[in-house]
Symmetry: C2
Subunit: 357 residues, 2 copies
């Protein structure tokens, strides 16, 4: 099999490495940036790196388009004009409706790997980037042929990913809910709270709590990537924000009513819904532990070592220091009640106060 | 000096321990729960534990009321009826407007320590709980006498805390912005996303990303505490939610307009506002590092140990695993550019990809 990878950044470079390391295909690479092509050659990610798109696509059985979301539509059209009738073309963009509406060619199947992209560039590419990663495919019911879909699905599974089919509009709706809308909220909260604290800088009042830290952590994520995402998925994001505004208005009215029992019912329900989300995501019931710690260098290491050497994996963690960093709380999530009980015991042995809220 | 502590949970117990360990005062304790009184006696947190409020308050120079927010108003009235004319009475509730409007007695000064309360109960009390913690005081300009305010301020500073005065209404407005409103948002988002994913549980689509994990982390926090807070600070929370709804509507219109440049400007501004918040809170410019890691037991320990043994303190951290937990990203925040440069080098030495976004 011959695979072409167009765009040799973190995702494209990792795809090429994974294909080669697992001996799945000969990989032909192309990037429109000459320096990136040179870096890819040095890295040895591809069997061959080409100076033109046409040369890279020549004879390909499968083509991965790993460019920014805003460039994918035109790139897909160019690629489809160059490849043969039995070649499957896919992309790795994080929104799918726009490109799937634009490209009706039966050889195109939209794709979206949920794989880390925090450290960009081919220098961070890794053959194991897609190990166990969900990889959404958005075939078009009327158009996509079975043979091309099966080839792509099998290739992704062989790469270590977990491919699953989904309607493009549904994909964008879900991504708006689980990722794009929370990014907008973080942006809005960061601005609003900065406004609320304006002028408080010289008092001890400026402490920001762990809830605010969490709520704003993704504020202002990479603008080049997110500018494209907000534009390409605007319809689904706008719909999700509309629902959020309605739900916030309901919560506001509930709180304005000052009915403590009703407020507690609503708060308890939110806890259950969050647990539901984590369970769905991780495939087991996550358990939370809260540890009070002196916030000195090394204390996180002690906890992580104690759990790690006992084989208890930490699936999520947040460290919330006090104003001056002298102490704080570590919240840890582990999977399963057994793991939680063991973790609690191990942490207690470190003489740190631990509780399961 | 003689200090009375009413309510012997985590905060009250830690107050008593801190007073005794620092030899600031003889501490008389009271809790309305007989079992808590017994546990406090065993723990030795107070010099004396009493069976009635009146006995505990007898001869006190300062009284701390460390009961749940919903009980503080009546408790303050009872305490003020029992103590002498030169005794200062304060509380530790996380909302201040309601109690300060109810209690006009010049001997009462509202208070609110920003100290960890995740692990409740006297068994988790610690003498160093307030070390470096901001402690808001809400004196009443027309009523509070200088001598009582000065005594309370000096006592808190001697406990290791950093007291600062603030108008009660302003206190509640700020807490609504930095803590209460983000909790409401987490509750609302958890429910909305659980709805959006309903029925997707059997597909790989249910992956929840790090942004959603952060956005919902405080969903459904302790209902007994938060029921009181939402009721006691409803006016300020309702106002903050109203502003949030307006700002979200503006963001929604911006995104609906699909003007990429305008969206990027807004996103860049959000990044700046979040950095402003962290800088204000931590007293230096925080720097973020992102590390791609295999999510095996021990990897967090390796990073934390490498930084810890080099004296680089991690002020915030979030671990975002992939769907199956096989790999992920650790985001770390350290204070200052020097620390960030050193951390980057130390992590690179561990052969982990690291970037400063």
């Amino acid at each position: 099999m011959r695979v072409a990878v167009v765009g040799l950044g973190l995702i494209g470079g990792s795809l090429a490495l994974a294909c080669r390391e697992r001996e799945l295909a000969a990989v032909a690479g192309y990037d429109r940036d000459r320096e990136v092509r040179a870096a890819a050659s040095v890295r040895g990610a591809c069997n061959t790196v080409h100076d033109t798109l046409a040369a890279a696509l020549d004879g390909a059985d499968a083509v991965f388009l790993a460019a920014p979301v805003g460039a994918l539509g035109q790139l897909a059209e160019e690629a489809l004009a160059l490849v043969g009738p039995e070649c499957v073309v896919t992309d790795v963009g994080s929104t799918k409706r726009a490109i799937c509406e634009r490209i009706s060619d039966p050889r195109f199947i939209g794709g979206h790997p949920l794989a880390g992209a925090e450290t960009a560039g081919i220098e961070h590419a890794r053959a194991d980037l897609f190990d166990g990663a969900a990889w959404y495919l958005t075939p078009q019911a009327e158009a996509t042929t079975g043979v091309l879909y099966e080839r792509l699905h099998r290739l992704l599974a062989a790469l270590g990913a977990r491919p699953g089919a989904l309607d493009a509009v549904e994909h964008d709706r879900i991504m708006a809910a689980i990722s794009h809308m929370p990014h907008v909220v973080a942006n809005v909260i960061a601005a609003q709270v900065a406004d609320a604290l304006a002028g408080e800088g010289r008092t001890p009042l400026a402490a920001i709590g762990p809830s605010l830290r969490d709520a704003t952590r993704v504020a202002g994520s990479n603008s080049a990537i997110w500018g494209d995402i907000y534009v390409a998925n605007s319809a689904a994001i706008v719909a999700a924000l509309g629902r959020l505004e309605s739900a916030l208005a309901q919560a506001r009215e509930l709180i304005a009513g000052e009915n403590r029992e009703a407020i507690i019912d609503w708060n308890d329900a939110a806890r259950d819904r969050r647990a539901e989300l984590l369970d769905t995501a991780i495939g087991g019931a996550t358990q939370e532990l809260r540890v009070s710690v002196p916030n000195r260098p090394g204390v996180v290491a002690e906890i992580a070592l104690a759990l790690g050497s006992a084989g208890v994996n930490i699936v999520d963690m947040v460290l919330s220091p006090s104003l001056d960093g002298s102490q704080g709380t570590v919240a840890l999530w582990v999977v399963g009640d057994d793991a939680a009980v063991r973790a609690e015991g191990l942490i207690a042995q470190l003489a740190l106060p631990v509780a399961r809220p």
